[in-house]
């Protein structure tokens, strides 16, 4: 006889261990794939996890098999026109003429092995090197906002907060305390009365009994009226849920991306900047529930734009850094009051600024902007091998505030380290 078993409620994720081992083994490849993704996706999409490809040849499991070459026959179904002895051209794409040296190369265009990463996995791999979350959690303070939290019960409060269960508990206790003894006595007397009816046989005592009976009745009545006077619910029973205000960290942040889009910022530099902004965004979205992004681009004039325009649209003009900083300040004042938002700023530029602009920008940044920010990072995307300072960075270098950091980025591979430095090396910051 067969046994039928419902196993649907059994553990579902039996392969999790195997999957984890796979991830562990191919960490390097997966990390590479993840970092390649950065170039392709928009900043906001980055935090959703997603599919990554790793080359199938990397994860193949080698086996001994017959190679190309030699003699063989193959039986196939579905013949329509062939007769024995027919000669056919060798189909292409089967490794060619059977040369033995080609096998390895031919595997190169094999399909990629694609798989999906969850958002958490994606982030974890992304920040694997950086070990940032911990650092920032301790270093950058949080903005708090009062929030209500439950804190037991009180005797007075608004009717909406009445806790019925608590109140009834109190009432019950009070009723027992005030009428318990009386009730016990009532029960006793009632038993006595009922008992008398059957036990009372002695005629001599009859008068006594009658007198006693009267006394009992009187007492009973007194007791009953006393019990009746204890109210079912009294004002002192009422209990209200208590709430207190506690400061809670605000779990929303806004990130300002400022970029110089004047002619000297070419695609390469924009790409570097984008990578940096992406990192910052991912990083913040790990920490905060909600992260807004404001894109501000500037030439000699600043404007707020959407992401697409920010990274891909061209605009010509001079360079006035201050315009962007002022705009940021305005937007902050209008939309993101600093006591309810965690505000981060990131600025990317090639550092070319002219005249009084760098100095005025520094003053504005240091005196007006930074006091309202959690952190402001400036990266200079430059390609000059000789290490002479740009005008903007020499001005910025004089800012002395632990919420400000600046670094130079030359190549893609610098992004991670620079990002890490920006957030970790604040204590021992040396003039760049």
């Amino acid at each position: 006889m067969s046994v039928i078993i419902d196993r649907r409620l059994n553990e579902r994720n039996k392969s999790a261990g195997n999957r984890a081992r796979f991830m562990r083994r191919y960490k390097k490849q997966i990390r590479r794939a993840v970092s390649e993704r950065i170039g392709e996706r928009s900043i906001r999409d980055m935090a959703t996890g997603g599919e990554v490809d790793i080359p199938a040849s990397d994860i193949s499991e080698p086996r001994w098999r017959h190679g190309e070459g030699g003699e063989r026959e193959i039986v196939l179904p579905g013949n329509r026109e062939f007769e024995s002895g027919d000669r056919l051209k060798r189909p292409q794409g089967q490794g060619g003429g059977g040369g033995s040296g080609e096998g390895g190369e031919g595997d190169g265009d094999e399909d990629n092995f694609t798989f999906a990463l969850s958002r958490d996995e994606f982030m974890e791999i992304f920040f694997d090197d950086l070990e940032l979350p911990h650092l920032l959690r301790t270093e950058a303070g949080d903005i708090t906002e009062p929030a209500y939290e439950r804190a037991g019960y009180t005797r007075d409060g608004a009717p909406v907060n009445l806790s019925v269960v608590r109140t009834m508990q109190q009432a019950l206790g009070r009723r027992i305390a005030l009428s318990g003894a009386a009730r016990r006595r009532v029960a006793e007397l009632e038993r006595l009365q009922a008992g008398d009816g059957t036990v009372g046989t002695d005629e001599a005592d009859e008068a006594d009994v009658a007198a006693l009976d009267d006394a009992t009745t009187v007492e009973l009545e007194a007791l009953r009226s006393r019990i009746a006077r204890v109210p079912f619910l009294d004002e002192i029973d009422l209990r209200y849920r208590h709430r207190v205000q506690v400061p809670k960290p605000v779990s929303r942040a806004v990130m300002f991306c400022l970029m110089d889009v004047s002619a000297s910022m070419d695609e390469h530099r924009k790409d570097l900047a984008k990578r940096f902004f992406t990192l910052l965004y991912l990083f913040l979205s790990r920490k905060y529930e909600r992260v807004e992004i404001v894109f501000i681009r500037h030439t000699d004039d600043a404007e707020e734009v959407d992401e697409e325009t920010f990274f891909h649209d061209r605009k010509t003009g001079g360079t006035v850094v201050l315009s962007a900083l002022t705009l940021m300040h305005e937007i902050m004042r209008e939309r993101f009051p600093k006591d309810s938002w965690n505000i981060y700023g990131a600025q990317a530029s090639d550092g070319d600024a002219f005249g009084v602009d760098p100095e005025r920008s520094r003053v504005f940044l240091e005196e007006s902007l930074i006091p309202g920010l959690r952190h402001f990072a400036y990266i200079e995307v430059c390609e000059r091998p000789e290490r002479h300072r740009s005008t903007l960075s020499s001005a910025y270098a004089r800012i002395d505030d632990e919420r400000f950091a600046m670094r130079e980025v030359n190549e893609r591979r610098d992004i991670y380290p620079v990002f890490r430095e920006l957030f970790t090396a604040r204590a021992k910051r040396v003039p760049a």
Binding site: N10, K14, W64, E73
Partner: protein, 505 residues
Amino acid sequence: MSRATSYLSNGQDWTFELLTDYDRAIRQIAVDEFGLDCYPNQIEVIASEQMLDAYASVGLPISYHHWSFGKAFISHEQSYRRGAQGLAYEIVINSDPCIAYLMEENSLPMQALVIAHACYGHNSFFKGNYLFRQWTDADAIVDYMVFARNYVAECEERFGIGAVEAMLDACHALQEFGVSRYHRPAPLSAADELLRQREREEGARQRHDELWRTVPAAADVDDAVAPRVFPEEPEENILYFVEKNSPSLAPWQRELVRIVRKLAQYFYPQGQTKVMNEGWATFWHYTILNRLYDKRQVDDGFMLEVLASHTNVVAQRGFDERGYGGINPYALGFAMFTDIRRICEAPTDEDREWFPAIAGSDWRETLDTAMRQYKDESFINQFLSPKLIRDFRLFAIGDDAGRPFLEVDSIHNEAGYRRVRRLLSTQYDRDGLMPDIEVVRFDRDRSRSLTLRHRQHRGKPLGSEGKKVLWHLQRLWGFDVKLESVDENGEVVSVASAGSGGPST
């Protein structure tokens, strides 16, 4: 047959009561009417995620952890999520009791089909076929896998995930060469395994003597005796040889080799009987469910759904059609068993000439014998009829790397039947699929190097990954490993050695 005219159910949705009813009805037909001999059934209903899990552990209900199973899981999951691949309706495990997984998403007719297919078709095949009887222990496999899983986990804890993974990688690469084809392996027993493994460790511990480490290495002792060739006979089971003779493996490593080897042995018959096994199960679900219909226990709608699914399963596309994926074992197997029944029941003159022994015989007996005593290669060689060769329009192509063209070797005509049949049968032979590689020399007394011989079959060289496998073998062996390729006259064509370094990962 008191309920002969009452339908067991109507509608699509299954319940556990209905499954029991269907199982009983199917059992009545399969066992009482057709005399199938089965293990008891354990039918387990699972969800699709669990089916994916089961896929990844190659169908076993439990297995040790390894990244390659994770890889399989991810790729199945990925293609399932994308809708590129449906899940199998069932997985059935060669164990006693025979465990079959049914997916909860299946409709009632599908569940019935699966019960007939797996719980009575595959089940009776597992119990009856000689390869399974000889090479696997249906009653011990689940216990053994529990042992293996725990043992591997314990090793990971003691020696690190990385070290265990490296061992398993190496063993998996040689998995197919961990099979003994000519003598029956000792029966599996998890308890014995545990005991044996403890003894092995204990022995190593007791033999260990600090003093030996202080003895200076002997300065090349001249052996008076000429070094004997070892092993005396070439050994085809490479993993077995490694487990017993590797000069460098620690006891736990030998144990892992053994686990992979035992598992390979367990799966060996499955690879040899794909066509027969699927054909047999398909034949029986078709026959049983039709009988159920004839007995009026199921309605027309039920049968239509069953037939639609059955037709998909046994579809065979031509070699030049889109979606051609080789010869469909369900199609070929089903056609062959159906054809044998036809030859028994209504033989033509051609059948009498080709199959004098079975034409007109009792079909149930003939089918039973075929199921018990053959594997794919011999089954096809014995029973593929000219009619089927015509129906499938089978033809053979000769591919000789020395010539610039392919030649049609033979087709489905009078002159070609025998040759097509023989060629198809060798296509299912293990030697046709797997290169012939054996251990021929272990230089025990000097370099400790190991020499393997690859006997090239009709000039076919080893595939491009051969070197990587050799590298894995070297890791197991610990000393030099050489692979000689010889042609059919025994002349050495090439010699490969693993060399230093290894796979990039």
